[in-house]
Symmetry: C2
Subunit: 370 residues, 2 copies
């Protein structure tokens, strides 16, 4: 079956929404943060870790899985859930973002994008049809339409043409989508141009998808512009479908997104930061490699309930990260992901309590040490 979104409560003082999404692999609550498992694994974590941090849904990357191990092997394994032994909901992206960011040089035509594999330089063509066919085989619960994530800044003229093409690509992808157990989201683009965001949103909604993503907000703009891009688009999205802000995972951006009515977020940031020794805490980000943690035998974040914070000290994690031991990277990845997931748990409670704006303000004041 397709996913089912239920809007259960709207915050009285903002656009923040509390809801649930039911999939074939269980129900999760929104707003939610989705850990990214690029190559069919959330880097350094195992599936038990994902359960313990209370991950509701994870994301995996079509581009990477297409190149390696290949969608046919995953189909033969029984789909992505079975392949990676993950029994919860999975969303796959379309590969669009990766062919535009990883693959260079590339060539965009009406048919699709021709580019060179970042692994071996092979010349490849990704089209809307191909992206959807791959995702059908991966058998994720939610698939994404193939879009152009245009560079920032782009001219108005370029962006207008790009938005039109993305709409045509969205329709072509929808037309070949066949997996009845997989839902399909449309993606709103349009850069920082208010009318193009509005146009893109309205036209994408006309195509009638199972949910809507807002793309291209995190590719190099300042925060104010990012928030405006959400504002321009989100008011045209239907209340009865989930809204997903792609590639956004800074705590403050999640709060701003939720306030505007976003339900789903994803980002590689928490795991990437972790691998470099950076950790979220309630009072801001810290760099565990800092010498002041050498003899600090307290947890990374004393308010956190994760495996890392319950059992290990800053001094030990610091040692592991400096000694390049993967346990350090894994423990900090678990912590950073749990930090964002716990943030969304608290956000959901605050929405149910009609208290989101106060929660947001308190969180930010502490995080920025105001």
């Amino acid at each position: 079956m397709k996913i089912k979104y239920q809007l259960l409560h709207k915050d009285k003082n903002s656009e923040a929404r509390y809801g649930t999404i039911t999939t074939n692999y269980g129900t999760f609550e929104t707003p939610i943060f989705m850990p990214v498992g690029t190559q069919a694994t959330v880097k350094t974590l195992d599936v038990r870790d994902l359960k313990e941090i209370n991950a509701g849904i994870i994301l995996s990357n079509t581009y990477h899985l297409w190149l390696r191990p290949g969608e046919d092997i995953i189909k033969k394994a029984g789909g992505l859930h079975k392949f990676m032994n993950y029994n919860g909901p999975i969303l796959t992206d379309s590969g669009g973002f990766q062919v535009f960011s990883l693959a260079n040089p590339r060539d965009i035509s009406e048919e699709g994008v021709t580019f060179k594999s970042h692994l071996n330089g092979d010349k490849l063509l990704l089209t809307p049809e191909k992206s959807i066919t791959i995702q059908n085989k991966l058998d994720s619960d939610i698939a994404m339409s193939f879009d152009e994530c245009a560079p920032y800044p782009s001219t108005y003229e370029y962006m207008k043409n790009s938005v039109e093409r993305t709409l045509r690509w969205a329709k072509r992808g929808k037309d070949v989508h066949q997996n009845k157990n997989q839902s399909l989201f449309g993606i709103v683009q349009g850069g920082e141009f208010e009318d193009l965001r509005a146009y893109s949103a309205k036209e994408t909604v006309k195509l009638d998808f199972d949910g809507y993503s807002i793309g291209g907000t995190s590719v190099g703009e300042d925060k104010e512009t990012m928030y405006k891009m959400i504002d321009y688009a989100i008011k045209y999205l239907p209340q009865d479908k989930p809204r997903y802000l792609m590639g956004v995972g800074e705590p403050l951006d999640i709060l701003e997104g939720v306030e505007r009515g976003v339900d789903m977020f994803d980002c590689v940031l928490p795991t990437r930061l972790a691998r470099h020794g950076h950790a979220f805490t309630r009072t801001g980000k810290i760099n565990i490699k800092n010498a002041k943690y050498k003899e600090d035998f307290t947890p990374v974040d004393k308010e956190c309930d994760c495996e890392c914070c319950k059992h290990y000290t800053k001094a030990y994690i610091r040692h592991l990260i400096i000694a390049n031991e993967t346990l350090g990277q894994r423990l900090l990845s678990i912590h950073n992901l749990r930090f964002l997931i716990k943030l969304t748990e608290e956000i959901r409670q605050s929405i149910k309590d009609d208290n989101f704006l106060t929660y947001k303000s308190n969180f930010i004041n502490k995080y920025l040490k105001k």
Copy 2:
């Protein structure tokens, strides 16, 4: 308290021994294989993994911990167990093997070994007294005497002098050893020279240690020579103390060691092999990167009960290893360690059943596909 060794059963048809060693952190059975946690972590594993593979005791490296994070930080943390959150027995080596293998150039004098740190080139001096003092601070359950692990081949003359010096070093270390909760093992050297092994064993035993190691058997010789070195030394070691064959972890070598009366083994081999995609199976070692496993949706070893083999397929692990995802390295490390630990579990049962030689023969025939 010091460790307590109990010899509970001797095999009727060989020198194989079944026993237990009681420490302040619990009792484990022998013969046993000890996973190596070089830098206060068994590479890629966490302490729950260690429990799940039924690790009885782990080993950590004095040289590495001395250089980073430093023994004083570990002492301040409350010792190595607390520092790394490991609640089971720990053995530390003396640093001798590392200064002879990692640190180059080095200069051996009666006082100790002067060498350059492999991390930053700092000139350092490790002496028998320093090694024991560091290990006292680490607060491991079993410490090792500082010895010279002489190169192979060495001349008889060189080895004779080296054995004499190692004996003087053993006495010096014992004289400064103070930690009443830590036991101290002596180390037998002597290369491939029968009389020097005998001399080293008898003189080391006269110094009266809590257990005895046989060193220098795995530094480049053929297997036959290695087994002879054990034979030359082990007959002079007392029955009421544990015997530890250092740096040995190939399944067949463990079986040969057990047959000769060895109780303890350690080696980085299982985790190092795993990180390169190699796995032990009952029918020999396999390279998971081999193309024939691309669509092999069966476990790495169908007879294994580890987390890796219970939940994941060869095709998935192969993908992870080729994509350089640490989950692949961790799952194979868990498997390879569990393989050796399960081997020693079965060995212990076979000794109790006076059936060790039959067990050994069956294992080898299957492993070598005879």
